[in-house]
């Protein structure tokens, strides 16, 4: 189980590294070009490429963060077992839903 989680977290980290880079470069570009919120939304709305990119970003976060948190909670608070896994699955779903909602918000 943990070997699979470890591998998933590392693979998600690779995806995250690329996504964070693209996200930051895009933000810096938007700020330097003086784009307004309306202009940014004008470019993201209906753009399936950005929507897909942010969905991948959100998926990577939803995989990466709960696995890391699992190790922290297990070691710091000796919380182990099914209750921990259940709680972190719920946390992963929360991250995925909140992130997907944000991505949908700039797409629709």
């Amino acid at each position: 189980m943990q070997a699979r989680l470890w591998l998933a977290q590392r693979l998600a980290a690779v995806v995250l590294a690329l996504c964070v880079l693209v996200h930051l470069i895009t933000m810096i570009y938007a700020v330097r070009q003086g784009l307004s919120a309306a202009e940014i939304l004008g470019r993201t709305r209906g753009n399936l490429a950005w929507f897909g990119f942010y969905l991948i970003f959100v998926a990577a976060v939803a995989i990466h963060a709960p696995i890391g948190l699992r190790a922290v909670l297990a070691e710091w608070f000796s919380w182990r077992g099914k209750s921990l896994d259940g709680a972190l699955l719920a946390f992963a779903l929360l991250l995925a839903l909140a992130g997907a909602r944000a991505a949908w918000g700039v797409f629709r």
Binding site: A3, A71, E75
Partner: protein, 237 residues
């Protein structure tokens, strides 16, 4: 002659530090200090040692909070002012005074399948293992461990996860994963891949920093993570 102020742990899990004054000598090791206390000041002091020359690994203790071989640690290397604090190795139950119970430590070697297993018999010819192969180089880099427990005592992951197999057992498993004569994989990889296995390591590198043999268990554990991942992707686990 100047004196050393030495605080030594006395008792078992419950106990206290007791202070002794020990004459300062030239080229004095921490083991010399402990031996002086036991021979001249308090014969009830319990501690372990055997070879005195860094071969047996039995004199590991915590000196000023850091796990070390006391026989190979000169007082000048570790003294703070004129004070020394000597305690049993951390992360192990204390039997008495400076003697830690190593049985749990070695049980974890067994749990990590640290025993060589082969289906070759004495009738088979010698296995030819080229020292130039990557596997042999990995094994060579980790093989000199003598099981002193310094890395285990230094490991913060062991401290917060007592089930964790620890650097020495995982280092041993890594040497066998790379031993082409051994046939205990992938069971061994399965044994070291659990919640208490190599994936619990956070790469603090305390084990590699303090290993008296200058081995790098952290690198061995990273190797195990790679090997387990590869086996997982191949569907062997």
């Amino acid at each position: 002659m100047s004196k050393l102020r030495v605080s030594v742990w006395r008792g078992a899990e419950a106990g206290e530090y007791r202070s002794y004054e020990v004459p300062r000598q030239e080229s004095q090791t921490v083991l010399d200090v402990v031996s002086h206390i036991q021979r001249y000041l308090d014969p009830t002091l319990a501690y372990r040692f055997a070879c005195r020359v860094g071969m047996c690994g039995s004199c590991g203790m915590s000196v000023n909070g850091v796990a070390r071989w006391t026989c190979r640690t000169h007082v000048t290397q570790v003294i703070k002012g004129d004070a020394l604090e000597i305690a049993p190795l951390r992360n192990l139950p204390v039997i008495k005074d400076l003697v830690a119970d190593m049985s749990g430590f070695f049980d974890k070697w067994a749990a990590a399948k640290g025993r060589f297993r082969s289906n070759r018999s004495r009738r088979d010819d010698f296995a030819v293992v080229s020292p130039a192969t990557a596997e042999r180089k990995h094994a060579d880099a980790a093989i000199e461990c003598i099981g002193c427990g310094v890395c285990y005592s230094a490991c913060d992951v062991v401290a917060c996860n007592p089930e964790y197999l620890g650097p020495a057992a995982l280092n041993r498993a890594w040497t066998l994963v790379n031993d082409v004569r051994d046939n205990a994989n992938p069971e061994r990889l399965r044994a070291v891949a659990g919640d208490a296995g190599c994936h619990a390591c956070h790469t603090h590198v305390s084990c590699s920093e303090l290993c008296p043999k200058h081995l790098a268990p952290t690198a061995s554990i990273a190797g195990l993570k790679r090997a387990v991942s590869l086996a997982l992707l191949k569907g062997q686990l």
